[in-house]
């Protein structure tokens, strides 16, 4: 589903964020991307979301080579991808409903379909009944869950999350992780970047550890 093949990413300022990263995430897999801050976790996710392109090497998502995707095809590519951001990236001039509905509106879903799927997504994150609220009136944890609802409302094949529990207390963090595990159970491929090792305790999933832009360990095995 996601395949990195000897991927390098060097930023214009000369900093090499990723050096020779190779891994393969199968369909329906859930993996944690760990490592200290500055290790390249965000860069790796940005390559998947096509916010950046690799300097060298190939990134294949859904058998599509992201380096060869023309600019005009990026929107369609992103529509099949769910992204959860650490800072939620909610639109504060719109209601919770409109935020979650955004990817569906973009995809051109009918109004009835939008209603149904927004409700389903909000139900999954436990926020049904808050549709008309403004995001700003919600707690940080609730805002994060709205962001997750938006990421899954379009039923993406792949969901990537950058420090989704970064601003949450341990209880809320565990709740969010349980949510991700549930999505994984219904077949969604997930790649979750986090530095919260405690949180992953008791979760049997694969771990990719990045150190200085290189894959140090993969699933406990040496890379």
């Amino acid at each position: 589903m996601i395949r990195f093949d000897n991927v390098y990413k060097r930023y214009p300022n000369g900093r090499e964020a990723l050096s020779g990263v190779t891994f393969r995430l199968e369909r329906g897999e859930l993996a944690f991307l760990t490592g200290p801050s500055g290790a390249g976790k965000s860069t790796l996710l940005r390559l998947v979301a096509l916010i950046e392109r690799p300097t060298r090497g190939t990134v294949l998502v859904n058998n599509q080579n992201t380096a060869r995707l023309p600019r005009r095809k990026i929107p369609a590519y992103r529509q099949r991808l769910g992204v959860v951001f650490q800072d939620h990236k909610l639109l504060h001039d719109r209601s919770v409903f409109d935020n979650v509905a955004l990817p569906l509106v973009i995809a051109g879903a009918t109004r009835r379909e939008i209603e149904r799927r927004v409700r389903a997504a909000l139900d999954q994150v436990g926020l049904l009944g808050r549709e008309t609220h403004a995001p700003i009136t919600l707690s940080t944890g609730e805002q994060q869950r709205v962001g997750i609802a938006r990421a899954v409302a379009g039923r993406p094949d792949v969901l990537i999350a950058d420090e989704p529990t970064g601003n949450l207390d341990p209880e809320l963090s565990r709740e969010v992780m349980r949510l991700f595990a549930r999505f994984n159970e219904v077949g969604v491929t997930l790649l979750i970047a986090t530095h919260d090792l405690e949180l992953m305790e008791g979760m049997p999933h694969r771990r990719l550890q990045l150190i200085n832009g290189q894959l140090a360990t993969d699933g406990g095995k040496a890379a």
């Binding site: 979301a49 916010i51 005009r72 929107p75 369609a76 590519y77 992103r78 529509q79 099949r80 991808l81 992204v83 990236k89 909610l90 639109l91 001039d93 955004l102 990817p103 509106v105 973009i106 995809a107 051109g108 879903a109 009918t110 109004r111 938006r150 379009g154």
Partner: protein, 309 residues
């Protein structure tokens, strides 16, 4: 709903949402919206108003088109009987519609009354004014008028013929020039409208940078991101045109009474005419189009530059 009606309906629905979103956005910041609309309205009202003015002047000059009348002054020693006979003879010509005799006595009386020189004129011994014939040729064409004037000038009783159509020709030339000036002003101010809208949209884009990034991140295409801004431009242009139409109507209403008085002083019953329906529709269409184009230019330049980071 079958699939073939589904897609266009969804498409229309998207556009409807963009449009209502734009209107809501304008209503959300009323002061800024009103200021921008006024600027656009003034820029549109100027050329449209000038156009109305020129077409009104054109209407006035058209009503003078039969003013091909000319005056033949008879020699001072022509008798009143001969003058009357002469006016009948000239009127009998095929190329003359009417010949009216203004005899020297009534000419003097008229002059005394209108000039306000009654006292001074009373000191004159005798009447210095000759009999005159006001002749209206059958045709208003300059060449025909000239032909009649030449024939009349050749009569032995006629002293001087004054053909005074030059000023009508001059007025028409001035109007043609004014029309050209209005066209140039229309182009310049139209460009100004597009630029004002473009600049407003550019500010709006900067203000909504975060929103644009998020929309692009969740898969919004350039077209999707662009659409609300195009509708915003359309709303500005159309709204400005509506205000411009109101401004023109209000101005004409203010001018109507003085114009009627002025026309009355010149013995006419001229009334100002406002924007015709087709002019009004062109104003609205032009305003909307300029707003759309201005927004299109601004979005083409600035939206591409905003990419998620």
């Amino acid at each position: 709903m079958s699939t073939w009606t589904g897609a266009p309906m969804r498409y229309l629905d998207l556009h409807r949402q963009s449009l209502s979103g734009s209107v809501r956005r304008l209503a959300g910041q009323p002061l800024a919206t009103v200021m921008t609309l006024l600027v656009i309205a003034i820029a549109l009202a100027l050329p449209a108003g000038l156009r109305v003015l020129v077409s009104n002047l054109g209407a006035v000059s058209a009503s003078w088109q039969n003013a091909a009348d000319f005056t033949a002054y008879l020699k001072i020693d022509v008798t009143a009987d001969r003058a009357r006979a002469l006016s009948r003879e000239i009127e009998a010509r095929d190329d003359v519609a009417e010949a009216r005799l203004v005899d020297r006595a009534s000419a003097l009386a008229d002059f005394r009354e209108r000039s306000g020189l009654g006292e001074a004129l009373a000191g004159l011994d005798g009447n210095p004014l000759p009999d005159a014939l006001v002749i209206r040729p059958a045709s208003g064409l300059d060449a025909d008028v000239e032909a009649v004037a030449a024939a009349v000038r050749a009569l032995p009783e006629v002293d001087v013929v004054r053909v005074d159509t030059a000023w009508v020709a001059r007025l028409r030339a001035i109007l043609a020039l004014a029309g050209r000036v209005v066209n140039v002003a229309t182009v310049l101010l139209g460009a100004a409208v597009a630029m004002v809208v473009g600049n407003t949209i550019r500010l709006e884009i900067n203000q909504r940078r975060v929103e644009i990034e998020v929309i692009k991140l969740v898969g919004g295409s350039d077209g999707f991101v662009r659409r609300p801004f195009l509708y915003l431009g359309l709303c500005y242009g159309l709204g400005g045109a509506v205000v411009a139409a109101v401004v023109i109507a209000a101005t004409l209403a203010l001018l109507a009474a003085p114009v009627r008085t002025l026309a009355g002083l010149y013995g006419g019953d001229f009334a100002l005419s406002g924007l015709s329906l087709s002019e009004l529709l062109s104003l609205l269409a032009g305003g909307g189009l300029l707003g759309w184009v201005g927004a299109g230019l601004a979005t083409a330049r600035h939206l591409r530059a905003i990419e998620p980071t």
